[in-house]
């Protein structure tokens, strides 16, 4: 590995914000803030670009789904053309053919993206906000608050998250809110642990010591200094959790705890419904399955690339 030479026009200027731009040396990141440096590394990472493109495509499709298809989701107006042994395949009217209920598969797939996005984002936002709050309280206040919160987190982590989500969904009944709450709550311990760990490690930091010595109140130190420094790992975790959430929504549907309204297109339930039509039309199972996997892949790639970009240890 070669060591980059300092700029020819002068000595090290890295710590001087007014110094020349480091454009001549691509690898030189002195003088860049953590975020700008991370953004720079992210833009150059092919993994990040692939991940971002997948995520972007998914989000765009989810948002403009109604304008991409002439049909309504869940409409079974072609059910007469479907029989247990044959499901009409792709045709000019139906790009991907029909599904087993006689709906347009292409329309169902588009609206499935919409459903996954809403479920994924809402549940992750819920897990993120509650988990962050608990983690900050535990790590920031310490003492008995910490003990109580972390014991609760231990209890939640003592059962696999899918079973936790199943138990919550069973109590709340079969509807969209219950799925989002179930999957969101199952994510709470992850964020709570992350934030608490981050708080505890930073409490030993020099800038916290300095702020304390200046007589700044604890609450302001946490909100103004410690919390902003935890934002990076939290965003990374949230991105990765979106992948998990989308898979878990499908898993809940698979277990029969998903959305009960048959008009709502959801990839997991489409996969379940396709199971007994394997011989006739394998695409009914393959398409939603691949859609779930590719979407999860996009969020995972993006999340991992962000982790790499933000983690100073992987900087070269």
């Amino acid at each position: 590995m070669t060591i980059p030479l300092p700029p020819a026009q002068g000595p090290f200027t890295g710590n001087d914000p007014s110094g020349p731009e480091t454009g001549a040396y691509e690898e030189d990141e002195r003088g860049l803030s953590l975020w700008r440096g991370a953004w720079r590394r992210l833009r150059r990472n092919p993994t990040a670009i692939v991940g971002a493109l997948i995520v972007l495509a998914f989000v765009v499709v989810a948002i403009i789904a109604p304008w991409l298809t002439p049909y309504e989701p869940g409409s079974t107006q072609w059910s007469g053309e479907v029989s247990p042994t044959s499901v009409p395949g792709p045709s000019p009217d139906h790009l991907l053919g029909l599904d087993r209920f006689g709906s347009d598969l292409y329309t169902q797939m588009l609206f499935g993206a919409r459903q996954s996005l809403v479920y994924g984002v809402v549940s992750t936002a819920l897990g993120l906000s509650v988990g962050t709050l608990l983690g900050v309280l535990a790590g920031g206040l310490g003492g008995w608050v910490d003990t109580v919160i972390m014991r609760a987190v231990d209890i939640m982590l003592s059962i696999p998250s899918l079973l936790l989500a199943v138990s919550i969904a069973a109590v709340l009944g079969q509807n969209a809110y219950s799925i989002m709450i179930a999957i969101g709550v199952a994510q709470v311990p992850i964020f709570a642990r992350l934030l608490r760990g981050s708080m505890l490690s930073q409490n030993k930091g020099d800038y916290v010591l300095a702020a304390t010595a200046l007589g700044i109140r604890r609450r302001r130190i946490i909100i103004g200094h410690v919390l902003p420094n935890s934002v990076g790992p939290t965003i990374v975790q949230a991105t990765l959790n979106l992948a998990t959430a989308i898979i878990e929504v499908a898993a809940l549907s698979f277990l029969g705890l998903g959305e009960s309204d048959p008009a709502v297109a959801e990839w997991g339930r489409m996969l379940v419904a396709a199971q007994d039509r394997f011989e006739a039309a394998p695409r009914l199972a393959l398409l939603p399955g691949f859609a779930i996997a590719v979407t999860a892949l996009g969020f995972t790639l993006l999340g991992e690339a962000m982790r790499e970009a933000l983690d100073p240890r992987t900087r070269r």
Binding site: A170, V171, P282, T300
Partner: protein
Amino acid sequence: MLRFVLRRLALLVPVLVGLSILLFAWVRALPGDPARALLGQRATPEGIARVNELYGFNEPVLQQYLLYVKALLNGDFGRSIQTGQPVLESFFEKFPATVELGMSALLLAIVVGVPLGYYAARHQGRFIDTAIVSGSLLGVVTPVFFLAILLKLVFAQWLGWLPTSFRQDARIDATHITNFYVLDGLMTQEWDAAWNAMVHLALPAIALGTIPLAIIVRITRASVAEVMHEDYVRTAESKGLSPAVISRRHILRNALLPVTTTIGLQAGLLFAGAVLTETVFAFNGVGQYLFSAISQRDYPVLQGYILFIALIYALINLAVDVGYGIIDPRVRVS
């Protein structure tokens, strides 16, 4: 070491107590009154009165909880709504199947995952490394149930190489002693029964093992890549030790520490995955039973199984930590 184990066991108590409180509250939070939820569709006025009497649903809440814990300690986890069978009995009947499946999946994940991860780390940046890393990413993001359906479709239905479902062919007259079918076959020397059970295990084990496999590959690769450049490896090299000895004693032994922890954490994932995998392959284990309990709203089964799974999960992690102490003497000191 003993003190370490005892302390860990003591830490388990508050978690289990907390979980029992949660599950106790859970049954009471279910739609409808608890006696009706526990009896399901078989609920008759007499039945409800009997259950109310038995579990003391008319008593004050604290007393109800104490009754519940007392019943648990006596091994009374209630009865299934569907079959009327005691929950504990059904668990022990189905548990061997899930253990057999989980162990096969984990074995596959370790035996394939560790060498792949090691190989990728030793060839960092080359094509083979990229291929292994990309493959492992695909493994992580593919939903278990989708992979199970895919495997079943391709290898069982199209190619017909492997059976689509169940643990053993019904036509095989096998003696079952332990309910571990492979083990039973080997013990009774009914080789065809053992082989048949193994063939039935193949697809579910691959489906269930893929995510742990992918995770083990990634952790092993990262960990080996880090250890490879440690000072003690360079020292060993300059001492003139053979590459094989360095790989085994210096690199792998240190690199496998994080891998061990990961394997322990996978245990919980395996239980959740087993629910999905066993359902697809009609594999008669804890997972499939849980699935039917979920769809039939069989709350006593769910309640009992979740408590048991948490207990087993905790014990596995304890075993992993103890194993960690054996592999890495540094842990024992602190």
